[in-house]
Amino acid sequence: MRTYIKPAALAASLVLSASGAAADAIKPETMARNCFTCHGTGGHPVNGLAPLAGIDAKAIETSMIDFRNDRRQATIMNRIARGLSEAEIAALAQYLSTLK
C-alpha cells in the first residue's frame, strides 16, 4: 500500500552528520518540544528545573556540549545531550534563545 524508497537509494541521497543524522533534517522546534516535558511547555518550567526560554544561546550550547562530553556532572542530561549532534545542539540553543 505504502511506497517506501529502497534503503540503498536513501543512503546515497543524503549528507550525514557525525551522529548519522541528515544534516539539516530535524527542525530545532521539533527537538525543543522534547525538552518541554521536563523543562516546561515553551521552556517555562513548573518544577524547579532550569528555564530554557530566552536563555543566551551560547550558555545553553556550552552546557549541552559539556553534558555531552561528560565535562559537567549530571544525573540525566549527559545521556540526553548525546542524542543530539553538535550542529543540532547549536540550532536548538539558538531557537530556545528566541523563545519569550
Binding site: 534503503p7 530535524i26 516535558t37 521536563c38 516546561g40 540525566i76 545521556r79
Partner: protein
Amino acid sequence: MSRETRRKFLIGAGAALGTLAYGRFAPAIAQGAAGRIVVIGGGFGGATAAKYARLLNPALDVTLVERDPSYVTCPFSNMVLGGTRTLADITHDRSGLARNHGVKLVQGEAIGIDAGSRQVRLASGQTLPYDRLLVAPGIDIRFGAVEGYDEAAAELMPHAWKAGPQTALLRRQLEAMDDGGTVIIAAPANPFRCPPGPYERASMIAHYLKTHKPRSKVLILDAKENFSKQGLFQGGWEAVYPGMIEWVSGSAGGKVSRVDARNRTLATEFGAQKGAVVNFIPPQQAGRIAIAAGLADDKGWCPVDPVSFESKQVPGVHVIGDAIYAGAMPKSGTAANSQAKIAAAAMVGLLGGKAADAPMLANTCYSLVGPDYGISVTGIYVATAEGIKEVPNSGGVSPARAAAAIRKQEAVYTDAWYKGIVADSLA
C-alpha cells in the same frame, strides 16, 4: 545504522492520501484557518496532542473526547501502593486544556470511527466530524488470555494496570494483609505498558512492607527472562530490602498458565503459588476503540508511519501512545507525550497541505526503588527507513554504581519529571 529522517521518502502514500482527501477543502486550508481535529483519549498522549495542535495553529477547531471525568495517572500509582502518595495526589482534571488552550472537551466514549465520512460516533449517539483524527486510547486488558483471569477475577486479584479503583483495591488488600505474608506480582511477557512498572511496584510494595509488616515478602513471577533496568533494580533491592524481594524468571517457573482468583493461587510449570495478596498483571492490547476501528493488527497493536504517526491501516487517522508499535520506544507516558507533539505537528501540517517534518522523539522512565532512591532510563529517537530507532551512543540507564546522594538526586528529579509532564500534557 543510517539515520534517515527525511519524511518525503518515508511518508509515501500516507501523505498523498491525506492531501488528496483534503483537496476539496483547499481554499480554506490555504488561509491556514480551516480544519477540525478530533482527539480520542485524554491521557498523556491525547491531551498533549490536543494542546499542542492548538498551540501550533490557534485557528484550528480541536475537540478532545474522553470517557473519564478526571485523569488518574499510572505514573506514581506505585507510590500510592507504597503509601507515599494518595490517589488524590495523582488525580488531575483536564479543564486547563479548555481554559488555557481553547480545546473543546467532550465527556463520552467513542465507540466507532467512520473513516469514509470522517466521523466519530459516541456511545451517547452524538457524532463528531473531523478532518484529521487522533486516537490515543491507551491499553485494554486482554481478559481471558490467561485462563481464569476475567473481570470478576480482577476484583479479587487486582491488576492495577489502569490507575484508579484497581489501585485503591490493591492498596486495601496490602493494608489488610497480616505481617509475614507473601505478596505475589505476576509480570507479563513483552510488549506491555511501562516495562519497568512491575519492578518499581515490587520496590514500593516492599517499602510499605518494610515499614509496616517487616516479616513479609514480595515474590515476582515473571513471564520473561530479563527485565527493564534489571541490574539497577536488583542492586537497589539488595541495598534497600535485603532478602525481601525474590524474582523468578519464566524458564525458572515464573510463567503463569492459569489463575484461581478465589484461592489467590497461580499455576506455573513448577507448581502452584499461593499469595496473601496477588497482583496479576495480564497481557494487554490497544484500547478497544482502536481495535473496533480497524487500526490494530491481529496481535492487537496499531502499525503507524514513524514520521506522521498516521495509521498504516486507516488513512486520515493518527495513533499514538501505548496503543501503537513504536519501534524502539517503550510504552510510557513520556513516549506518548513526545509522540503527541510529532503527531500534532504532522496533523497541523497536513491540514495546511504540507508533509510532516522529520521527527525527533524522546523517552524517560524514572523509577523509585525507595522514596530516596531513584533510577532512570532515557533515550532520543529518530525515524529511519526501518522505523523508530534510538540514536546510537545516546541514552541508556543510570550508572550501575553511584553514591546514595546521586540516587537521592534522581528521586528528586523523578518528582520534577512528574510535575513537568502533568503540566506539559494537561495545563
